[in-house]
Subunit: 364 residues, 2 copies
């Protein structure tokens, strides 16, 4: 049922692109989210209209067609690609790789591999997105580990944090590659030629950190990146760095701790306000600023985190993504595909590997 | 100038206690905080009055005596012990151990070692507190690494997080010992016979984590602790566990990320509120609930984090501790000394080591 063009790519390591230059095409895993296909289709429709993008909804053809009808969608930029299987949230990446190659996430990723889409967006099981990208698209040449790069709100705008969960045990070399990949994403996202790259650590001084970060610090200090040194946890949100690098265990803890704190503050604030008569009287007056604040800190609204270091654009969204989050993720995926960030990463990684093979200059 | 009693302790590994059973005596490093001795002396005075505790102010005799006079303190429960040196915030633990053995933190710790005080409280350089405790008091028999155990506000009360910075590279065995130590602190703090002990990880499932946490999970599951399994970052603040265990790098990042999020939300909230006319009108009505909230989440108010695993009670406070935070830290230090938590930890660690030396039961 899809009418995606199908130019196959045989170039090794460089992803094929859809030939129609006029409009980017995004493959959306429309079955994976916690709230079913409705927010996906609503988000896709809104993205198609606002960003003039084609969206291939991947999933159960009947379910998706019914839902499109229910939502009154007749936009020709939306199409459907049938996928008979769905990956559930609890399924392990190994199960997905073995038994779910007809799932919506797998087939959506194959559309990118086959040049029938420019990027894949999924609000489903993160492990499934990763394993599909790993097997179907493959790792970028030279990249040892891919990384999930989320963006966080700061006092001054946004910052990128990576890795937030793809790799739990990392070496200094992995962190260095994350910095190179995050730098390319940062250049694209912030329209800055030299984003400030920091290393998440437990003190600003050069000597602070654990064994891995201390070694990574030395490598990054000698790199061509705009390395601003160690960044402490409290400074991630102050905007002192555009790109903050850490291993996936720490990044995931940091991200979820942040959600926990924001949620706790919200609940305590409501409790405090509703516990006082004046607070209750004031509530209608501050409801709107509070809603704005919630939107600002709720990362489900932010529109997905790319998996960097694979041959193509993969955007992973929160399972409970709203239509707005899906729309934002499509917008971001489109931008990454247009900028060919995956190819720029490949170039940078190759350059860095070539550099590391050069004989060291004698120290004077 | 101190009149602390001076019963020396020659018992190996068990800290001497002040003989006067009637009143606990706390040695306070009154020079180390960011705001000078004033908040220390105010906090000490208030603690002496409210908790009937003796406090030995350790630091420059003249400075402290002048400050006491300025504050009009004549409470006989406060005394001064002269220490000619001060450790600055930037000084490394190695420098402190080599060159600052006449500093307020070192001499305050010696008072505990010599039985002239029951606990030491310091709002100074954390590394200096650790190194002084390590050299002067010594590690508890059987403990491989000490741990700093902070407490965090949760939706239902408080939770203990350890380690938050004493050890950046930990083995599964270290994490297991942190769990044992945190359990004893939790029993004391929450008055619970079996606090729920969790392991900070990136998913609730048993299989989630990095190499070290996965190994620690297995050991903890087989232990006598009330182990509730993995705790995700977002659940630290929901109160699903009383004691949450992690390595000091991750714990420190988690703590500082939390501060960063809270600070950012506060600033964004004020911005949102002051940006709307209704918000500004409502502000006087919600100022008091906001202040309560701030107090609830500001860990400087919470009163210090003990260094567990040394022969004595050492309480480390934030450098920018207020008088109220110092007072709370003294109260908490007094409680830990009364409960002899350090000795209970020694007993538990010895039992766990004995247990691990037993031949394993054959699996059936």
């Amino acid at each position: 049922m899809t009418n995606a063009s199908s130019v196959a790519a045989d170039q090794p390591n460089l992803q094929a692109r859809v030939t129609t230059p006029s409009r980017m095409k995004i493959a959306l895993d429309a079955m994976g989210g916690d709230h079913g296909p409705a927010p996906c289709i609503e988000g896709a429709l809104s993205a198609a209209q606002d960003f003039d993008v084609d969206v291939v909804l991947v999933g159960d053809e009947k379910v998706l067609a019914d839902e499109c009808r229910r939502l009154g969608s007749t936009d020709p930029r939306l199409s459907i690609k049938h996928a008979p299987q769905v990956v559930e949230m609890h399924e392990s990446p190994a199960t997905v790789a073995r038994k779910k190659r007809d799932s919506s996430i797998w087939i959506a990723t194959e559309l990118v591999k086959n040049g029938e889409a420019d990027a894949v967006v999924s609000p489903g099981n993160t492990g499934a997105s990763m394993v599909a990208s790993f097997f179907v698209l493959g790792l970028t040449k030279g990249v040892e580990r891919p990384a999930i790069a989320t963006s966080l709100p700061t006092l001054t705008g946004e910052a990128i944090l990576l890795d937030v969960g793809a790799n739990v045990d990392c070496t200094a070399q992995h962190l260095t590659q994350f910095a190179i990949m995050g730098n390319e994403y940062g250049k694209h996202l912030f329209r800055k030629p030299n984003p400030r790259v920091g290393l998440l650590s437990i003190g600003e001084e050069d000597s602070k950190g654990n064994e891995v970060t201390k070694e990574a610090f030395k490598i990054l200090k000698g790199s061509a990146l705009n390395f601003v040194g160690n960044v402490e946890g409290r400074d991630v949100y102050s905007g002192n760095a555009d790109v903050v690098v850490c291993d996936g265990f720490i990044g995931n803890v940091a991200l979820k701790i942040s959600e926990g704190v924001a949620e706790t503050i919200k609940k305590l604030l409501f409790k405090e306000i509703s516990g006082s008569l004046l607070g209750r009287l004031a509530y209608p007056l501050i409801a709107s600023p509070l809603r704005n604040l919630k939107r600002r800190i709720d990362y489900a609204e932010f529109g997905g985190a790319p998996l960097l270091g694979v041959n193509g654009i993969t955007m992973i969204c929160h399972g409970r993504s709203s239509a707005k989050a899906i729309k934002n993720a499509i917008r971001r995926a489109k931008g990454l595909a247009e900028s060919r960030v995956d190819e720029l990463i490949q170039r940078d990684i190759e350059e860095s590997l070539a550099q590391s093979r050069l004989p060291e200059e004698p120290s004077t």
